[in-house]
Amino acid sequence: MTILDLENKTIFEYSQQGRNAGAQLLGTLGDSSDLPAALLRSSKPLLPETSELDVVRHYTRLSQKNFSIDTHFYPLGSCTMKYNPRAAHRIASMPGFLQRHPLAQEIHSQGFLACLYDFQEILIEVTGMAGVSLTPMAGAQGEFAGVAMIRAYHLARGDHERDEILVPDAAHGTNPASAVMCGFKVREIPTKADGDMDFEELKKAVGPKTAGIMLTNPSTLGVFERHIEDIAQLVHQAGGLLYYDGANLNAILGKVRPGDMGFDIMHINLHKTFATPHGGGGPGSGPVAVSKRVEPFLPAPIVGKKGDSYVWLDKDNRPQTIGRLSTFMGNAGILLRAYIYARLLGREGLKRVAEYATLNANYLMIRLKKAGFTLAFPARRASHEFILTLSKEEKQFGVTAMDIAKRLLDYGFHAPTTYFPLLIPECLLIEPTETESKQTLDGFACAMIAILKEATTNPDQLKKAPYHQPVRRLDDVKAARELNLVWRDSKQNLKGEETKQ
């Protein structure tokens, strides 16, 4: 067996019949003869038969095939890949937190509940809202909760005609998808060339059918929506509510609050603004914050205070709640990590997040502009992120945003977000975050400049990048057409060998 073969093996290919991680076997086997045979399993599930070292080595080696914040600069626009403090992870892993059962009695819950209660208060202050529920398990679930509250609010007022949610064309895909999950129709509002929403078009769209509007501000275009007060007034006058997608809250922390801008409902992506780890795709966490008139509808449970003790407030105490969204209390451990982060930073630290994220974005934007890249919104300030458009390079050299993104990997930088927002052709959405130094940004700018040069001198090479990753560009069409979603072995079918148990 060669090194290359080893590198490509799945865990199943390490299996040797009869091998096991012996330390994990319990030894004494209980009696299950009282269980009816008809309900028992007759075939062994396909799980590896490997030693503990096999497992540790395999998954350690796999980890080394990943980019991560801990190993690479990750300027992924809209995703906020900033340093995830080790302290938050370590502290949230204290035994008292890890071993607490979600249905433990209240006397074994006061520590955990105190943290959640404090964190609710911090989020209320940061957002300028009147109430918070921490239960949504991701931004998208927060959006669902938010739109469900819009629905509940109108229905509670006997207003049954509002069946439309307005969404700008630059919005995250989750916005329209969440609106549809709550039974609404989606109406898109176009964006003007300067990056602000087309207010004239909005005026035409707003009316008695408008349940609400979902906005990100700063928008996904990396600019602050300057007419937010007019928008709020227009939608409110028509009886609709304003929903704030908190994906970019990190850009305005301590500068301006969604509540003061006129928003009624919002979610907060803790895995962005509050630096909880992305974990290779999750867990996220998406608490929702609301204004006073929407407060009764918050998803349950929330944490309340009764005298000196903290208590759960569930549907018994909150009859108008839209209900429960998770089995227990959302991604509880992520809430703890976010709370720890907030305590480390404090008031001043939170404000500096917005300041230095904005400084880094504007600095990198100007550096790249001076190097010859085209900005999507050259007349605007960057918020915490900005967009390059590569249509010129695409026309001149046939080099796409994707090619540049892939080539960046070879230079040791994770690619920025590509092809989002959809309305900017050949775009790269770049978000450096506040935890990166000037020196890292300079390194990234140098790589971009080098790649731009390659585009002019050797575009064909760019189109086949990357070259120095564990694999080269992958065949996505084949992946979708010839679905191979589970490992199979010629000797052993998926459902396992028939064995007598």
Binding site: T10, H101, G111, V256, G323, R380, A405, R472, A479, K495
Partner: protein, 460 residues
């Protein structure tokens, strides 16, 4: 500035490059009248040491010495290697693997996870995880309504033996889409969903039947008969299972004549700590015919430009970032880090290790059941086979018993009367493989002590 690396010199140079007088001037597009500083309600920042001290006080308040609660979250031993590897920055601080070439570690792991879960459940395919068990079921309900081409019905049968919180969550998530949830009654003596209650439904069109195995009471349902009944009606079968139990019990792919259609549940028992309820990890598997209706991320194996095998997210045309309002779901994240834990846990345990854990859970619960029902005034409720949880009836108020036990450092179970008042005062208790004979003894002695005391339990 805890995590901001800028020196005064850096800031000066950067502002000079962008030709701005100050950082503050970068916010000049925000209308001045909207600006607001954070108030002193937000405390000052603390050093890491100070936060450790503060949080240790909180954490220590919540320590209990013995836990016999199950009810959807189970205490199991987690091998040391699991979280040692999961805690590696390369897993913990990576993003969603959209840039496949730079994410082969996460992608291959997800592919291995999909393989393990598909095999455990006896299904053809698995997605790369959902938020948690209850929300996975809600998505399974939406999926079943989309996938069932035999009927236009939007009616779902929901047994009352399904976890009450799962029932609440699916109600929150699916009712805005005009899906009707119909409760199925259970037998007060057997604790299962009797076939007769289904037959009583007559000719009603049904999109899907949910079957929990084991059910909330720990009782094993007659899954073969229920599955065949649903399929005869043209309904799909959604199995909600404890994946650990599948080391021992018949996989849903083999239920009845043709097997369940969608299988989902909570994978927390596979290497994820109790941690106050999350983050956990929902799973979803299905028959291949329905894969395009499945929500969430899916990883596929493919080849690169050189023909070398590699892994990538696939069937993304189902997802919100491509399909927007026409997506199968608004779901964006999965629970990648917890999937990492589950995959490593399953690899370490293997089929035999997992089976031993499941059998020992059952054995310990049977011992506990035998011991605890010998205490006068504590009675069995149901007379049917169970996995690792059982319901007992108490003559005293279950909530008072729990309070008294908690004062002795014992989390003694879950009082079910809020959700099942018709059963009277009952406790749902669970003993996993983590419990020794001595633990069971200590628990029963504590129950006895609080039970036979002349005063009410609350005063123990």
């Amino acid at each position: 500035m805890p995590f901001i690396p800028h020196t005064a010199n850096d800031v000066q140079q950067m502002l000079a490059e962008i030709d701005s007088p100050s950082i503050e001037s970068l916010f000049d597009e925000i209308p001045k009248n909207l600006r607001k500083e954070l108030s002193t309600k937000i405390p000052e920042g603390l050093s890491e040491l100070a936060v450790v001290k503060l949080m240790r006080e909180y954490a220590e308040q919540d320590v209990s010495s013995l836990c016999f609660i199950g009810a959807g979250a189970y205490e199991h031993y987690i091998p040391a290697a699991v979280w040692d590897i999961v805690g590696r920055g390369e897993y913990m601080t990576a993003y969603t693997p959209y840039q496949a070439e730079a994410s082969q570690g996460t992608l291959q792991l997800l592919y291995e996870y999909q393989t393990m879960m598909a095999s455990l459940t006896g299904m053809d395919v698995s997605n790369a995880s959902m938020y948690d068990g209850a929300s996975a079921l809600a998505e399974a309900v939406l999926m079943a309504v989309r996938a069932n081409r035999q009927t236009k019905s939007r009616r779902i049968l929901v047994p009352k033996t399904l976890h009450p919180y799962y029932r609440e969550v699916i109600s929150t998530i699916v009712t805005p889409q005009q899906i009707e949830l119909v409760d199925l009654p259970y037998s007060f003596t057997e604790g299962n969903t009797p076939l007769e209650s289904l037959n009583a439904l007559g000719d009603t069109d049904i999109a899907a039947l949910i079957i929990p195995q084991p059910n909330f009471f720990g009782i094993l349902e007659e899954v073969d008969q229920l599955t065949d009944w649903a399929h005869r009606k043209g309904a799909l079968v959604i199995a909600v299972v404890n994946p650990l139990a599948l080391a021992l019990f018949k996989e849903p792919g083999k239920w009845g004549e043709t097997g369940a259609d969608i299988v989902c549940g909570e994978a927390q028992p596979l290497g994820v700590p109790l941690a106050s309820g999350g983050p956990y990890v929902g799973f979803m598997c299905c028959k291949e015919a329905y894969v395009r209706q499945m929500p969430g991320r899916i990883v596929g194996k493919t080849v690169d430009l050189d023909g070398k095998p590699g892994f990538a997210l696939t069937l993304q045309a189902r997802e919100q970032h491509i399909r927007r309002s026409k997506a199968t779901s608004n779901i964006c994240t999965n629970q990648g880090l917890l999937v990492t834990a589950v995959t490593i846990y399953l690899s370490l345990m293997g089929a035999e290790g997992l089976r031993q854990v499941a059998i020992n859970c059952h054995e310990n619960t049977r011992k506990l059941f035998n011991k605890i029902t010998k205490i006068p005034g504590i009675l069995p409720v149901f007379n049917r086979p169970y996995f690792h949880e059982i319901l007992v009836r108490t003559e005293k108020k279950a909530a008072d018993i729990l309070l008294a036990l908690s004062r002795l450092g014992i989390e003694g179970g879950y009082a079910t009367s809020v959700h099942y008042p018709e059963l009277g005062e009952c406790l749902l208790i669970c003993a996993t493989e983590t419990k020794s004979e001595r633990d069971l003894e200590v628990f029963c002695e504590a129950v006895k002590r609080c039970y036979i005391s002349e005063n009410s339990c609350a005063s123990v």
